[in-house]
Symmetry: C2
Subunit: 193 residues, 2 copies
DNA sequence: TACAGCATGTAAGCAGTTACATGATTCT
DNA sequence: AGAATCATGTAACTGCTTACATGCTGTA
């Protein structure tokens, strides 16, 4: 999935500025499985505008750059839908420095291992929070205004449920295994220093 | 984590050729949370060799290019350990085209949604298989020969357990929610065609 | 006072993917 | 016969991150 399709997808949920789109990928429902930075979003939006797939209206703001609120054109919508149908989905990929580092736990101080695990936990908790908020957004939540009631969209609901289940399983596993893991590390250290 | 550290990390588990290192990232324990392609591994190995962090012995093979079996130098080992200590782990990131596509389930044919979910499931099953094999490798399993018994390494065990828990949670969620999700999609379709 | 958030945009630089080049062997 | 596996290597291309440029508002 290239950044252009990602932007079109974000706009399917409602009009938004580049800044708001990034928020969707950072805190919203997409944050679980995609991400995009401003440095790639702005150029993508500009290009999509040139191709007639999006338009924008500049909202004037005092003492700030105009806020450009983008929306899909009918053609943009059609193009995106076509992309959805045609895309042969690429491999999933998960990257985690923390888990890589923890693979070498036997070479690291136990305190560092514990810190890494805790860091991993707290990140998962943040993610869980994001997913829950995205599933049942509070009024004036992040992202564009909800033109449709998102609770009527089955997709995000299913995906959100999946994300929730995964985060919970992760936190649960750590909860149950962290101490015995650290104890084992300490014993090994004591056994052959 | 840059590709160079990833290669050093792979070699911590034992000597290996570039081709074998890729296998570790494709099927071995690392496949769960990192990946690397041959086009990046070979140049990295060459560079590490120039820097004195790895050496290799060329194993002659009939009618094939010599197999270059790399091993860490003492300095390579030290460098990697230093890296482990110093690295401030980057954000985890998970990318999934399938989940992105499924976010728009309400715009897709139900059959396509089902196919996407099934594809997702089967990929998770493959991953689960890899993780299990990596945790309790069979004799002559993938990757370099096990110079140490991996069952004595707590890190991979913990990580493997985590990966297993996550895969299981995913498969479990899909098992329990797929049908009702598809039914809901079909009902919506029938309700307002 | 300093930092975080809002808000857009450009451009350099780099890391990694993909494709190309080559070729024998073994499995289906 | 064709595909996959083994095996290494180079190079173009792409797409993304990071940093820079600018500047007000609100909070700690």
């Amino acid at each position: 999935m290239d950044i252009r399709s990602l932007c079109l997808g974000a706009l399917m949920a409602g009009d938004a500025s580049g800044y708001e789109i990034r928020k969707m990928f950072e805190e919203g429902i997409f944050s679980y499985f995609q991400m995009a930075s401003l440095g790639s979003i702005y150029p993508a939006l500009t290009k999509l505008g040139q191709e007639g797939l999006v338009t924008f209206t500049a909202q004037e703001q005092e003492n700030r750059p105009d806020k450009k609120v983008y929306s899909l054109t009918p053609e943009g919508r059609r193009t995106f839908l076509r992309t959805l149908f045609q895309t042969r989905p690429g491999e999933d990929r998960y990257r985690s420095d923390i888990l890589f580092l923890l693979s070498f736990a036997h070479e690291l101080p136990v305190e560092l291992c514990e810190a890494l695990i805790d860091e991993y936990s707290s990140r998962q908790e943040v993610m869980l929070e994001h997913i829950r908020e995205a599933k049942c957004p509070t009024k004036s939540g992040p992202g564009p205004e909800n033109t449709e009631n998102p609770c009527q969209m089955a997709g995000p609901d299913f995906i959100g449920g999946l994300g929730e289940a995964v985060c919970k399983a992760t936190l649960d596993f750590i909860d149950k295994n962290k101490e015995s893991f650290l104890t084992e590390l300490r014993n090994r250290r004591a056994g052959r220093p």
